[in-house]
Amino acid sequence: MEDLRNKARELLAAKAVQVVVGYGRGTGASRRAVFIQSAAEAGELLFDNACRQNLAVYLMKPEVRKLGKMALVAIPATLRTILQLASENQIQDLELLALVPDASGAVTQLATFAAIEAHVVLQDNDLSAAEKGELQKYEIMGMEQRRQFWEEHFSRCLKCYACRAACPLCYCSRCTVECNQPQWIPVPAHDLGNLEWNIMRAMHLAGRCINCGDCSRACPVGIPLHLLNQKLISEVYTHFNSRSGMAAKADHAMSTFKPNDAEDFIR
């Protein structure tokens, strides 16, 4: 912890960054995002297993971005997000630093996309054993059962868009659900509106989602959104041999078209 705080003090004092976005004390035993803008505040930084939010979501928040160059305390999913955002041309190299604390508390500073790429290939980016187990349970359901499963879950959706807000890759300034000329997705949180909204979001994240799980954790009514995303991650991996968030320059399984693509519907 002291390593991380010292690192933050050093970076802020040297004006190498203007803000360190990290984790601090939250309600009860939880951790929350803190925005450290001076060396004097660095003591608020914490790092432990309760630090789960993918802080890369703040890379796309204008109010945070305008604070200046950012150092981001990064867990594995955060690093994948940075690379994914880079590959989508949302952030530039050298625009930010990543600070990666390890289990012993030592901090690795990654200053370039190349350094982040080199770090990411060494970490485990696959679904965890528990996630795979949950996905398998889902996959043994038949189509009809799956339809019922999602209809039941989506019927509870409030259309609060907390999933979208918490997702670092849902950064569109005008989400499709808010486009009304024409209206693609019904706005009301009725069954059809909810089904279309959630399927649309899942499809927009296919081949892009870096599996941080923040949409699921954000959902106030406990819809297992991660299952949709993880299913798509595994499909994209199987069919395209591709995993999101591994490189700052990358083709995207669902949005890069090539003349030699196997499918001919697009030509």
């Binding site: 929350r32 109010e63 409030l158």
Partner: protein
């Protein structure tokens, strides 16, 4: 009317449940759904979850559903026919086991919906609910009812208030005429209150700030942009806090179905960036800090000023639901301690 205090056995309460159902009333109560507890229609007391601190959503869904048809329309060769809702078919609903903070929240909703021109649909729904509150024996670090005029055993807003006294006994306070009617079918089974000590069963919720202090600071704090920026930097601008809030009343209107369709009222939130976006492209609240300020000012300054009622009952739902741990009581404490 004066509050009438009696006691009721769990088995009599069970009987009351079946009586309500056979009278054609729906019962909306906290129910365990997966790993959380939320309001749902129930068929017996056994289905009701009594020991959670709070439900995810608030009971406002009984009077202000997340989607509600306001009217239907039919356009034929330029002639538009409107069909209003038939208010008579709205169901009589007993809301059972809601917390005292939630019961108090109906007054805030009413202040908004009945302000100026009363909202017919809302009023009709409100008329048809019977509020059976349940005192809190537990609170958590998000609760702050006692800072906003309520309390874990407060009666305001309930027609009947129950307090679980243990050993299958409940203290039953009849607070309104509606409440008296609701228990009439079991009145023979109500026992005199044998000196039950309600106070001893209640959660302790230490006040965190005073409304007087908040109101004196808030107006002067309006222009302190850096205060609001600091308070709201981690807020992501979603609708979770407003949608679970028992007093948030903002809605959007959507027409569906072309020439023949419906006009729907749908929940909306001042936390969304598009909430105040004008057709011209101008947005009077372009920053999340301004939207967060609006949320607090509306509840703690504008509503008390204009409608003589607070827009917050301290249930803490917004904070439990917030994906980034914006904790309302903490923010209000910061307001109380600010030196504008």
């Amino acid at each position: 009317m004066a509050i009438e205090t009696t006691s009721i056995k769990r088995e009599t309460l069970e009987k009351l449940f079946s009586n309500w159902l056979s009278e054609g009333k729906r019962i909306l109560a906290p129910k365990k759904l997966g790993d959380h507890v939320d309001f749902a229609l129930v068929g017996s007391l056994a289905e009701v979850s009594l020991d959670q601190v709070q439900t995810v959503q608030s009971p406002k869904i009984a009077v202000f559903p997340r989607v509600e048809e306001l009217l239907a329309f039919q356009s034929t060769d330029g002639n538009v026919q409107l069909r209003e809702r038939d208010l008579a078919v709205l169901p009589e609903t007993v809301i059972f086991g809601l917390r005292p903070c939630d019961a108090a929240a109906f007054a805030s909703l009413k202040a908004i919906f009945d302000w100026d021109t009363p909202d017919k649909l809302f009023s009709a729904r409100l008329e048809k609910i019977t509020v059976v509150g349940l005192s809190c024996s537990r609170a958590d670090e998000y609760c702050f009812c006692t800072s906003v005029g309520g309390g874990p055993g407060a009666a305001a807003g309930s027609d009947i208030l129950l307090t679980d006294m243990g050993r299958e006994d409940f203290l039953l306070e009849i607070i309104s005429e509606k409440g008296r009617q609701a228990v009439r079918s079991v009145s023979a089974g109500l026992q005199p209150d044998a000196a039950m000590d309600k106070e001893s069963r209640l959660a302790r919720v230490t006040p965190a700030f005073t409304v007087e202090k908040i109101s004196s600071v808030l107006a002067a704090l309006f222009d302190d942009a850096s205060f609001w920026e600091k308070q709201s930097l981690r807020c992501l601008g979603c609708g979770a806090c407003a949608y679970v809030c028992p007093t948030c009343a903002c809605f959007d209107i959507q027409d569906e179905g072309g020439a023949s369709g419906k006009r729907l009222r749908c929940w909306d939130s001042c936390g969304f960036g598009l909430f105040t976006l004008h057709t011209s492209g101008h947005n009077p609240r372009p920053l999340q800090s301004q939207r967060w300020r609006q949320r607090l000012m509306h509840k703690f300054s504008y509503m008390p000023e204009r409608q003589s009622v607070l827009g917050c009952v301290g249930c803490g739902r917004c904070s439990r639901a917030c994906p980034v741990d914006m904790n309302m009581v903490e923010h209000m404490r910061a307001v109380a301690e600010a030196k504008p």
